[in-house]
């Protein structure tokens, strides 16, 4: 009952303890309530109903009006997070490429203009760095998750 989830600060390991029908984690307790619904007891004794569903590797969790996403990492698989690629947030069309290969850019520089859902979206540099590769030109269609440009982080 050990699971690994991805987070912005790296993988998190979670080990649950079983106590009768309940699953426990440092003061929190969980039991199955009904189809897709779980009953959570918080350390302060408060309880809430959680809805959970898995899409691909991601567990979507609804709790007290808030929604959380946890990507589960299969033991042994490697996370694709730190590759420095700038990916298309959704399917669309490249309208404009604003940088050249080899160009040095600052964090926040607009690199590409994408059109999706009838709106324009700017792809901006996540860090200071250098554009090492441009994978799409203006007019090309891109799929969601496609790597648009490679950015080499400045030392």
């Amino acid at each position: 009952m050990q699971h690994i989830f991805a987070s912005s600060e790296g993988p998190i390991e979670v080990t649950l303890a079983r106590n009768g029908e309940a699953l426990q984690l440092s003061g929190y307790s969980l039991t199955q309530h009904d189809r897709g619904r779980l009953l959570v007891t918080l350390p302060n004794g408060g309880k809430c109903i959680a809805h959970a569903t898995k899409v691909g590797d991601i567990w979507w969790v609804h709790l007290n009006g808030r929604t959380y996403r946890w990507e589960r990492i299969e033991p042994g698989s490697s996370s694709a997070r730190d590759e420095g690629g700038l990916v298309a947030p959704m399917p669309g069309k490249v309208l404009d490429v604003l940088v050249r290969q080899g160009q040095s850019v600052e964090a926040g520089t607009a690199l590409m203009v994408l059109e999706a859902m009838k709106m324009e979206h700017r792809i901006v540099a996540s860090t200071d760095g250098r554009v090492t590769q441009i994978h799409f030109q203006a007019g090309e269609q891109v799929a969601q998750g496609a790597v648009l440009l490679d950015l080499e982080e400045a030392e």
């Binding site: 009952m1 699971h3 989830f5 998190i12 979670v14 649950l16 699953l23 984690l25 440092s26 929190y28 969980l30 199955q32 189809r35 897709g36 779980l38 959570v40 918080l42 350390p43 302060n44 809430c48 959680a50 809805h51 959970a52 569903t53 898995k54 899409v55 567990w59 979507w60 969790v61 609804h62 709790l63 007290n64 009006g65 808030r66 929604t67 959380y68 996403r69 946890w70 589960r72 947030p89 959704m90 399917p91 669309g92 309208l95 059109e115 999706a116 859902m117 009838k118 709106m119 324009e120 979206h121 969601q144």
Partner: protein, 502 residues
């Protein structure tokens, strides 16, 4: 005589209109792009015509194909909904020329109001106050930017760039600093051409700190033009409304009368027929200025329906049929609030999101209305506008309506696609919303660096336990199969069935 209506739209507004037809005992026809097969609205129509083509231009904007669908199914009227062809005078003319009833105002009225410049002139002549501004119509592309720059100089900053034939925030940009002008103008123009096939740009003085107040009007062929009071829609992100209410929280009966009369005058100035909305900016000074008239049903019409008791879509059908409208004197009761549910990442500059609606459980109980075009199991795709549904509440008072909206948003469970539900929920707790002192800049003022969900470490930890526990319990193995199942391919007999038996 309207006996069968073709609804030239999709999604929640198509559902709204199709249900109204069904209740009125009028036959209905839906049109459906190949990527919309299986959508909720196709189930609510008596007949469905599958359009050929892929892009919006080839389907929901293809006038010839839509008119042919009406003729082949024996429909005698076309309801355009909003967006798409709803404000194309040319389409309205086409519809009439083919012997069909256009459920909306005359093509002349659409033209006069659709072109921002003509509308301003007409309004000025009718004695309705307008905002200072000017339009740039420059055929030579190279000179357009220069002409825009000069006009901007005359209008003054801050200013707003708008597509002359636009709407819904597309092709719209606010410019506070002349240094940003060129980039904003190019983007606005590109969007305007892409969305409306018309690159003309209108420059308007930006009245910051104003409220967006609009008046719903109805006019029939029996000489009656009335207004149904106001909606306040000041809360906007990317110039798109997300939170709308009626009545306006700071409205007085005197101001309602004055704005209502101006709206009726505006409608009468163009011999308006049917349902329309006259939008105003209400300055902090109490002065109001004509913004534009939307010559169609509006997204936020439900809040007016809930406080006035008028079924606006049903009245549209009556008016198009030549009947007098059925509603009596204006009678506003209680308070209604609508929020627009988008598939978008509010924490990331409201970037549209896609994915399966693996779980979609709307809130229930008295005083809640949901106008939705989707249901659990549907996929949100990048093909269309990311608005999923409208959640509307009614309560006897504004404070109770806000309480009900909070409860409703807390109960709303959507998993599998990122939505703005939490953003909307936070909005209900924002002081300007509680006060009713919202203006068109409220969201930017509240979250100058963008909105982020509040951090609650306890809930975050609990959610991690839920994810791990759900995996341990094998909940994903009990789940209904995902969104790929049961999709009807383009070669399915569904297409031919509807064509074979009109």
């Amino acid at each position: 005589m309207v006996s069968k209506v073709l609804v030239a739209n999709r999604g929640e507004i198509a559902c709204r209109i199709l249900r109204a037809c069904s209740e009125a005992g009028i036959g209905s026809v839906a049109i459906c792009a190949p990527n919309d097969q299986g959508s909720l609205f196709t189930e609510l129509a008596d007949e469905v015509v599958l359009l050929e083509g892929e892009s919006i231009g080839e389907t929901y904007l293809d006038q010839a194909q839509i008119i042919a669908a009406a003729q082949s199914t024996g429909a005698d009227a076309i309801h355009p909904g909003f967006g798409f062809l709803s404000e194309r005078a040319e389409f309205a003319r086409h519809v009439s020329a083919n012997g069909l009833i256009w459920i909306g105002p005359s093509p002349e009225a659409i033209d006069q109001m659709g072109d921002k410049m003509t509308a301003r002139q007409t309004m000025r002549a009718a004695g309705v106050p307008v905002i200072p501004g000017e339009e740039v119509e420059e055929v030579d592309e190279a000179k357009t930017l220069e002409a825009l720059r000069e006009a901007a100089q005359r209008v003054g900053y801050p200013l707003l760039l708008k597509a002359s034939s636009g709407g819904g925030g597309k092709g719209m940009r606010a410019v506070h600093d002349p240094a940003d002008f060129d980039q904003a103008a190019s983007a606005a123009q590109r969007e305007a051409i892409a969305a409306f096939g018309d690159g003309r740009i209108y420059i308007e003085r930006l009245l910051t700190g104003s409220k967006h107040i609009e008046i719903q009007v109805l006019a029939d062929r029996h000489g009656r033009t009335i207004h149904l009071g106001e909606r306040e829609c000041s809360v906007q992100r990317r110039h798109q409304k997300v939170f709308e209410e009626a009545p306006g929280p700071t409205m007085t009966p005197e101001l309602r009368d004055a704005m209502g009369q101006a709206a009726v005058a505006a409608a009468q100035a163009v011999d308006y027929e049917g349902a329309g909305t006259v939008e105003f900016l209400l300055a902090a000074s109490g002065e109001f200025f004509f913004l534009e008239m939307n010559t169609r049903i509006q997204v936020e019409h439900p809040v007016t329906e809930l406080v006035t008791g008028v079924d606006i879509v049903r009245e549209q059908l009556r008016i198009a049929n030549g009947e007098p409208m059925s509603c009596g004197d204006l009678m506003i009761r209680g308070h209604a609030i609508e929020v627009r549910l988008y598939a978008e990442d509010a924490a990331n500059n409201f970037l549209p999101a896609i994915g399966p609606l693996a779980v979609f459980r709307p809130p229930e109980g008295p005083g809640i209305r949901l106008d939705t075009g989707v249901r659990e199991g549907d996929d949100v795709t990048p093909n269309y506008d990311p608005m999923l549904a409208k959640l509307i509440v009614w309560a006897p008072s504004r404070i109770e309506a806000l309480q009900k909206m909070r409860r409703a948003l807390d109960e709303f469970v959507i998993l599998g696609t990122t939505t703005n539900v939490e953003f909307l929920r936070d909005l209900c707790d924002a002081q300007p919303v509680i006060d009713g002192s919202t203006t068109t800049t409220t969201i930017d003022t509240l979250w100058p660096k963008g909105w982020n969900p509040p951090h609650d470490l306890t809930l975050e930890d609990a959610s991690l336990l839920v994810a791990a526990g759900a995996e341990t319990l094998g909940l994903h193995l009990q789940q209904r199969v995902g969104s790929q199942e049961g999709v009807v391919g383009p070669a399915s007999p569904f297409a031919t069935l509807n064509r074979r038996y009109p």
